[in-house]
Symmetry: C3
């Protein structure tokens, strides 16, 4: 029933974004890292190390990805008189990232991300284009 365990593995993956606000599917990069490290049973913490880019889990349908971008702009309109904009003009990027959160924790089973059929890990760029890093931490059993 249980699996004996012994490992913590740290690493990172890189994400190149192309637009100011952009939802990108990074599932295969995460799965590649999991496979490469030999992660078998446990959980993975994928953690964006940025204050203006986070992550959600949803379907990677191109229309929906644009809808998520648009709706985030509705919920946190750019340039709406934010105090932080006096310093850096990207308050909306920070607030969006606060709402979606910088990380997702995902079950790993038999060496694979254990998600639903349509679930994908979507990186949410809030202030691109930029080169981004997602730190990876696996807790569990390798094989």
């Amino acid at each position: 029933m249980g699996e004996s365990m012994s490992e913590v593995i740290h690493g990172e993956i890189r994400v190149k974004t192309n637009r100011a606000i952009e939802v990108t599917d990074i599932t295969s990069s995460i799965q590649d890292w999991v496979s490469q490290k030999g992660c078998q049973e446990g959980i993975i913490l994928a953690f964006s190390v940025h204050t203006t880019a986070g992550m959600v889990i949803n379907e990677a349908e191109s229309g929906l990805m644009q809808d998520i971008e648009s709706q985030l702009k509705e919920i946190v309109p750019p340039g709406a008189g934010y105090k932080h904009d006096r310093i850096d003009s990207n308050a909306h990027s920070h607030i969006m990232t606060s709402l979606v959160s910088p990380s997702e924790t995902i079950p790993i089973s038999s060496g694979s991300l254990s998600m639903g059929t349509w679930q994908r890990v979507l990186f949410v760029e809030g202030d691109g284009p930029r080169s981004r890093r997602v730190s990876m931490t696996f807790i569990g059993k390798t094989g």
Copy 2:
């Protein structure tokens, strides 16, 4: 001070929803699973394997549960011209789920969910009624 540990346990619970958008208390199902598997000290990752249903943690007061449903509809209005609606007419369900996130990670102490007095795990159906699955992963020590 620390507890020696050795286990990863995977499983799932099922949730039957009754309305299109519905907040349901699933705390006792999660606690039952934790007890049944003998989880003692660690964390549980409860992860909805769906792109149109997620989870939050809050009070299970019936008025508040309706308020959460209504406010999610305010924040992500159904049918607001989303591109994904050309395919499936449930873009709002996907975007709501992106915002609330599909999972919660909860401390387990002495075999119980270790939350505050009023905290309950609330399943957020965004496109019901449906039969849903929540994957469960325990990391820690069994007894």
Copy 3:
């Protein structure tokens, strides 16, 4: 590559808030706990045990912290006819907390919170001022 592991450590930190809706930087309290417990490699689950106060991770710039407070009030306006307000007049605090979530999971590497340069753990008080508790669970290897 991997680290052998054996520990689950539970504890808590306390947070004193001063205003009704207030974003506070609690990073150093969390780091102090991590150091005190000798956590080396793994993850920490910081979990607010309250239904009206949660957490986000972002930059601790004072203007931005006020922007997050203001924007949460835009997204979930206080007193907007909520059913829960008949009981307790703080429905907005509960709904805000549902959106930001009560917890953050953070990688621990070489005994430190492993976040980006500008990332800080921000406690989001939604119904203060109050004395609050954040439960801490470490999973990983101590040294």
